[in-house]
Amino acid sequence: MRITLPTWFHKLASPPHFYRFARLLGPWLLWVSLLLMLIGAWGGLFLAPPDYQQGDGFRIIYVHVPSAYLSTMIYAVMATAAAIGLIWRIKLAHAVAAAAAPVGAWFTFLALVTGALWGKPMWGTYWEWDPRLTSELILLFLYFGYMSLRSAFDDQSRADRASAVLALVGVVNLPIIHYSVIWWSSIHQGPTISKLDAPSITTDMLWPLLVMILAYTLFFAAVLLQRVRAEVLDRERHARWVQELLAGPEGEVR
């Protein structure tokens, strides 16, 4: 079986097109995401009522849940890009995977630390070798492993292929993180908003969380675009379009 990709995909995947697209879209995404973060924080800290069990301590949810979600979402993006790079040999896809990894590691770290700070008052401990917590820590190590494997190769295309295989193997950790609170008895609470028929949270508590999740997602997109621009320029430094940018009046790439 042979699967082909649509034409627009190939066009966007061409480095000069993507570079211009990212330069145009990136700053807008960043400002929109920062504005949404402020709105979400305002809603979460001022407008949402205190939780009936956790009081004001529950407000950590507005920074913890979005970062935990992003930590796994970024891994999925990274692994998908790595797979596209391996299968269709699209260089831009490898650049996307490489650019996503450090951002993913930062948000995994943030999810772990905000979780620890939430765990202390509610569970009485910063850390427990609990299935959810442990699998999230493994996610952090997967990002570290991915990044150090990349830097271990001098040859770009070998680094791309080897790290892509590691990224794909690590995908098994994603369902483990997601279902850990259901499969095993965990001190971590179960899902709150994904039970769409009956979310166990009121609207005035829910909307700031949804705004924050959107804000974090757009923030990741903005940072990713900027990082992919750097990756693409570095990888394509001998390509004609980069040389043409360099030969411009400023002698500089914009």
């Binding site: 920062l34 950590i60 923030f219 002698g251």
Partner: protein, 57 residues
């Protein structure tokens, strides 16, 4: 205001999480910018060297 800052007794847990989130956001913006700038500068430097070499030849 004091009551708001006290976070119902959870201030020592709530505020560090928001502070750390801000720090991670800033770090990610700055790191991505720096990386792009360093690649650009390296390219510009190389281009300038090439131009000089060509003008000397």
């Amino acid at each position: 205001m004091t009551e708001f800052l006290a976070m119902g007794g959870y201030a020592q847990y709530v505020w560090p999480t928001y502070g750390l989130t801000l720090i991670v956001v800033v770090i990610n913006v700055v790191a991505a910018r720096r990386r792009l700038r360093s690649v650009r500068e390296a390219l510009a430097l190389k281009a300038a060297r090439e131009r000089r070499r060509r003008s000397q030849a």
